[in-house]
């Protein structure tokens, strides 16, 4: 369970351009469920997702990951929580150009050390699982949108995280690929992982595979919407 209590995230606090991206959000994210944060652009979905994934600290409020309060952790420990608990799929996928698909998948595991042979095998198995095993040695910039996304998912899973966080994962995919992505997400949930996504794509938030939809507007959770 990830629990957010009265969480606020303010950018440029105290300056004329102050922006409240997340405003007083209290939310429980259940384990082994698919939760979608929906809302228009600027509604605070991505900022909230960043807080959930321990990528940023809230200006105020508390966040618990499992039974651990993470808001006050020093950077080093927060990084450790992030890399062992979360896997990230970004809107632009953010694969490192020039590296192969396989190297991209291995990247989050580098700071963890361990046997290189085992890491290569694990990364290759993930690529095989998502149907891009044959593209393992292709450079990231040569991959199609669908391939890049599946490599990004494989990368998110390489450290075997409990939670997968995805920001607008279908933004660059056509409807067929988006539906395929939802099937992959459902498979992750079925193996016991928690999936948290931010999306304003109806294919995502209207999918029957989604367990919980959280609607947002102006940084706040809007109750009573589907």
């Amino acid at each position: 369970m990830i629990r957010l209590q009265d969480v606020r995230r303010v950018f440029h606090q105290g300056r004329p351009d102050e922006l409240v991206a997340v405003d007083d959000v209290t939310l429980d994210i259940a384990d082994a469920r698919i939760t979608v944060l929906r809302g228009p652009s600027g509604s605070g979905k991505t900022s909230l997702l960043a807080l959930v994934g321990c990528m940023a600290r809230p200006t105020s409020g508390r966040i618990h990951v499992g039974d651990r309060e993470v808001t006050s952790l020093p950077e080093h420990f927060l990084t450790e929580v992030r890399r062992l608990t979360f896997g990230f799929v970004f809107q632009q996928f953010h694969l490192v150009r020039g590296l192969t698909a396989l190297e991209n998948v291995m990247l989050p595991a580098y700071p963890l050390g361990g046997s290189r042979k085992a890491l290569v095998a694990r990364a290759q198995a993930l690529l095989d699982r998502f149907g891009v095993g044959a593209r393992a040695h292709a450079r990231a910039d040569w991959l199609s949108g669908g391939e890049a996304q599946r490599v990004a998912i494989a990368r998110a899973l390489v450290n075997d995280p409990r939670v997968v966080v995805a920001d607008e994962p279908t933004a660059h995919l056509d409807s067929k690929l988006s539906a395929g992505f939802m099937d992959l997400v459902a498979a992750l949930r079925d193996e016991g992982r928690t999936v948290v996504m931010a999306s304003h794509d109806a294919i995502v938030y209207d999918s029957p595979l989604v367990d919980h939809v959280v609607s947002m507007r102006d940084g706040r959770i809007v109750r009573g919407e589907p």
Binding site: H76, P108, N159
Partner: protein, 383 residues
């Protein structure tokens, strides 16, 4: 939360180095150009330092065999011939073991347009009418043993001597422009009557007594100038330092421009590199890991350029006859000595060079990376 076993330091560094190398490979053009420029600068700087260091130790090695004290006669501040009776007087000074008159002089050879040094050795192994010449003289005069060696004497006559052999040089640095000959031949060529010498060499076995002996000589013979070996050594060092200083000064402009280029290349992170650091942080890299990766990156470029530059300089100075430096740094006559320097790799020079090149570059790569790496990882999600 599943906790894998903590990684060993070595394992982590291996992965970071791995990533660094592939990262360098991705920006091949930029990094190769930088490494090449870097190597060139290290090469130039190391060449000058190694060369002057080797010349210095060569010169010092030769000076070990030089007399402890040389006494010259000075007339109105000008060096003049010294009477032979002084040999006897000088040898009686306490602390002096031996005094011997020396005959030597510079001879301008119009055909070679070079100054040659004529010298009567303590024991000349040739016969009167013969000369033993340095390899530089042999090269310029195209003289081989058995060939005539014409010289213009003080009375205007051409004296034809015969080349007996070339000097078996242990160091051509000083023997290159040397012509050894017998005493009668020397006196005839230079018009020096018997009983006069160029200077007098003294042997003073106790090094601590040299300055006392010199003071005594100055007191007893006010028209002489005693020169100690330490003074000759200082002159040699001053000449070498002056020469290498000149070259380093010329190089300074190149060094400065390299510094600016390197700083600019290393310190300016491209948008791509900045984005990459953001991605690494977002997928779970710590600031310290990003920095370690950047340290490796700087170290790989600067260390390989440093080693390549140093090796090239070593090859240039000690294997080839240092074609780029020889005309500036060696020889004070037209006859350049041709010799192989004894390889000297002074740890002080190597570490100075290391500190001047590798450390600043590595720091230059780390500072901007640190700035980029300390930003929140969620920046990448909002980019």
């Amino acid at each position: 939360m599943k906790r894998p076993r903590p990684p060993t330091w070595l394992e982590r560094q291996r992965y970071l180095l791995d990533f660094t190398l592939s990262s360098l490979g991705r920006r091949k053009g930029k990094n190769l150009a930088l490494a090449a420029l870097y190597t060139l600068v290290v090469f130039a700087l190391a060449s000058v330092l190694l060369y002057t260091q080797a010349l210095r130790s060569e010169a010092m090695r030769i000076l070990e065999g030089a007399p402890d004290l040389v006494v010259q006669r000075v007339v109105a501040g000008r060096h003049d011939l010294i009477p032979g009776d002084r040999v006897e007087r000088l040898s009686k000074i306490r602390g002096v073991q031996e005094a011997r008159g020396r005959l030597w002089g510079y001879y301008y050879d119009a055909s070679a347009r070079a100054n040659l040094t004529f010298l009567v050795p303590d024991r000349f192994w040739g016969k009167p009418g013969e000369v033993v010449i340095g390899e530089g003289v042999a090269r310029t005069r195209l003289a081989v043993p058995g060939e005539p060696f014409p010289v213009l004497a003080a009375d205007g006559e051409v004296v034809v001597l015969k080349v007996r052999e070339t000097i078996p040089s242990f160091s051509e640095l000083v023997s290159s422009d040397l012509v050894l000959l017998s005493e009668p031949d020397f006196r005839r060529l230079f018009g020096i009557p018997p009983g006069l010498f160029t200077d007098i060499a003294l042997t003073v076995p106790n090094g601590k007594e040299v300055s006392t002996v010199a003071a005594k000589i100055r007191g007893q013979m006010p028209d002489t100038r005693p020169i100690t070996r330490a003074e000759i050594t200082r002159t040699y060092e001053a000449i070498l330092d002056w020469r290498s200083g000149l070259v380093v000064l010329v190089l300074a402009a190149a060094l400065l421009s390299f510094g600016i280029v390197a700083w600019d290349k290393a310190s300016g992170l491209s948008a791509d590199e900045r984005r990459e650091i953001g991605v690494l942080k977002a997928i779970g890299w710590d600031t310290s890991e990003v920095l370690a990766m950047k340290v490796w990156e700087g170290a790989v470029i600067s260390l390989s350029a440093f080693l390549a530059g140093l090796l090239l300089a070593y090859f240039h100075v000690f294997v080839t006859p240092a074609p780029l430096l020889a005309p500036v740094l060696k020889g004070w006559s037209t006859i350049y000595p041709e010799f192989r320097l004894t390889p000297v790799l002074n740890p002080f020079i190597v570490s100075t060079l290391f500190l001047l090149t590798v450390v600043p570059y590595t720091v230059a790569t780390v500072v901007p990376a640190w700035r980029a790496a300390t930003t929140d990882p969620d920046e990448v999600m909002r980019s």
